[in-house]
Symmetry: C2
Subunit: 424 residues, 2 copies
């Protein structure tokens, strides 16, 4: 389902150093399995996959079916890990231009744009709207603010606001639980021990994803299968190779990891990966800076830099098989000189572009991996999610940081709340 090609990586790593790393990689992997490292109590995103809650999956699917039947729009209110996962999976698995059946999935409270939020409520006017507010504490500024406006909107327009508002929050405490109790909203629980960036396979991600018409059981079990495979103390797996390689690149002075997706629908997976790696590793003045590009588009923008700029980049290609696309036909009039491509599909041509690029970048001293998805389907995407979650945990432990906290996010928040005059 997933394969990692390290062809353009190995030449850049000292084989002896890389080999000598194996025991440390195994230790880091076991530390994760045993929940014995820094932030070990925050690894429930892994253990919950080893003991799947089928009843919850069925319950979420049922609520999603109601939303799909009754709503024109599902407005998902959340920021960071409370929306990136859902957006990534929905973008990957639903059409880009053709309107799918069922409700439109929109996001709010993921920034503070005055323009967007003005437009949003005009856009929603006259539509049947459901709201899913997603926040563990209920006190994060962006979503709590958007939810205040969304609540007012729903209460003013519909006679069943209690049915149309669904809260996804912590088991207890926070600000959303009292609101829920007072208004009779439905509730899904963000389990303790699951940080935002690891929460896509909890109701945080699963409800919006199911409402978009995606089979969440396949998605979930795609992750379960890989979690089980990796749940062995002596497991050898591409996710561990990737973690080890990138750690060595970090230690030898590389600064930036560029994920290059070969399919535009995967750009959201890039944004989700960017949070996962940036927040998990970027502390104590360590970590590779995660950046995302979409090829071949950005070969005509970042490509020049990747080929010939400062040599501090590593690159991860994400490519996908399974759809051929339009096939070039032979034309009598060959004025555009493309007849040499006759019989080739878009997929075949895109594939050649990828191979040429991976080789050219390696020759330009940019080491690169390729992660290939056998299909663009829910099961495979589930595996992709777990692949990176496991890998970042291991690479975080190799870097000797706690991969499960994000202390630096508080710095601007404290200043912001102080300037806004928030009461303690």
């Amino acid at each position: 389902m997933l394969t990692l090609d390290r062809r353009h990586v190995t030449d850049f790593l000292n084989a002896e150093t890389r080999g000598a790393l194996a025991p440390r990689v195994r230790d880091a992997h076991r530390t994760l399995l045993n929940a014995s490292g820094a932030g070990g109590s925050e690894t429930v995103w892994r253990t919950m996959l080893l003991d799947p809650n089928d009843a919850l999956l069925a319950d979420l699917a049922q609520t999603a079916a109601e939303i799909r039947e009754r709503a024109d729009v599902l407005l998902c209110i959340g920021i960071g890990g409370s929306y990136l996962g859902a957006q990534a999976v929905i973008d990957a698995l639903t059409p880009t231009l053709l309107k799918p059946d069922g409700p439109e999935i929109l996001f709010a409270g993921h920034h503070l744009s005055p323009r967007y939020h003005t437009e949003l409520f005009k856009y929603l006017d006259g539509k049947s709207v459901y709201v899913n507010v997603i926040s563990k504490s209920g006190s994060t500024l962006e979503p709590s603010l958007a939810f205040r406006f969304a609540r007012q909107f729903v209460e003013e327009r519909f006679d069943d606001p209690g049915r149309r508002i669904i809260v996804t929050t912590g088991p207890e405490g926070g600000l959303l639980n009292p609101l829920r109790d007072a208004n009779g909203y439905r509730k899904y629980v963000i389990p303790d021990g699951v940080g935002g960036r690891f929460s896509v396979l909890t109701p945080v991600g699963l409800l919006p994803i199911a409402a978009a018409g995606i089979d969440i059981r396949s998605l979930f079990y795609g992750a379960v299968d890989l979690a089980r495979t990796l749940n062995a103390p002596d497991a050898e797996h591409a996710a561990l190779d990737y973690a080890a390689d990138r750690y060595l690149f970090h230690e030898t002075g590389y600064k930036t990891e560029l994920m290059a997706v070969m399919e535009p629908r995967l750009k959201g997976i890039g944004a989700w990966w960017q949070q996962l790696f940036g927040e998990s590793e970027g502390k104590q003045h360590r970590g590779l800076f995660p950046s995302v590009a979409q090829y071949t588009t950005d070969l005509h923008s970042l490509g020049q830099y990747v080929q010939q700029g400062q040599r501090t980049l590593v690159e991860l290609f994400l490519r996908v098989e399974g759809t051929q696309g339009p096939v070039v036909s032979e034309l009598a009039d060959n004025t555009d000189q493309l007849n040499y491509l006759a019989g080739k599909s878009y997929a075949a041509i895109n594939e050649v572009a990828y191979e040429a690029t991976a080789e050219a970048h390696a020759e330009g001293d940019v080491p690169n991996w390729t992660l290939t998805l056998g299909h663009l389907d829910a099961q495979t995407i589930g595996a992709v999610l777990y692949f990176f979650e496991h890998a970042v945990s291991v690479s975080g432990y190799l870097l000797d940081v706690n991969p499960f906290n994000q202390p630096g996010v508080e710095n601007y928040k404290q200043k912001m709340f102080s300037r806004l005059g928030r009461p303690d």
Copy 2:
């Protein structure tokens, strides 16, 4: 219209070194003005602004009016500089959710996705389609391939394909000129001496932008005004300060420049800037790696890294004034504890988030500038475009590279065409 705040920059630069740079900055600026440096013949993007072609602007506006009247979709076929500028300006100046009057502006041939191009032609079926194909040579793989399919689509469905297809290409030569001659397509010229990434204010960008209902005269003259201001050998201007600062950061070991837009509609400007700086500077193993974030969204993803990761980042905030957005009201039920914000608008809250972030990142040793747009309108965006075009030319000359070529883009292309079996 545009102001650059260097408050969080100056502490990170040695004042003496920075002061001593002034004569070199002036030289680089004059080299651009005199077209006497590397790639000097490729600076017509500047001189054309000093001698505005009003007749061309009027002609483009007239064609755009026809497209707006007759088309459901304008399909723009181009890649890199042939689409990033149009997309940036259109995203900045048109609504995100509310369908504007006039045709939908779609892009094609900006990548090789089999899924997108399959969907695209299904989506276009039954709609009134105009096509604008944009390519200097006509031989770039992605757009030439998409244009082959788009031509077939238009020829099969409409009895006036010659009217519906508009070619934007070089004055002569290439592959699109013969196609145009044979089929009677309308044509706009990409002037010699204007590289792709500097072409947004030629018909390359202006026709799609006008078709989106944007006042291209205001846009163009926003750039003209700034080009005239900067067309003085002794000019002192924020664009030169920005170029000089970032050069010094580069020389002292910074690796990455992160543009953080405070308004999601500006994300396309970020993508355009990324090409402009990446392709202009990223050569001879030099240049800052350009990356783009959208705040406050990405404060909950990249924010941790920016605050506490490897200290090789500089940051450029792009913020915009002029729209207040929804205003928080006092609620009797303050369960969400947001009444302390009563009377504040989204814009005011976003502004505080920005100020807090700029200060927190500076305290975390990330130098940062802020470029403020007084309004989100065509004239201001025109100025933004010229600001960066002038700045990158100067910073390129400071780096001692030719800012106007992109030799590294050929590496993967040669391998790709060879593997695809393209005849010479």
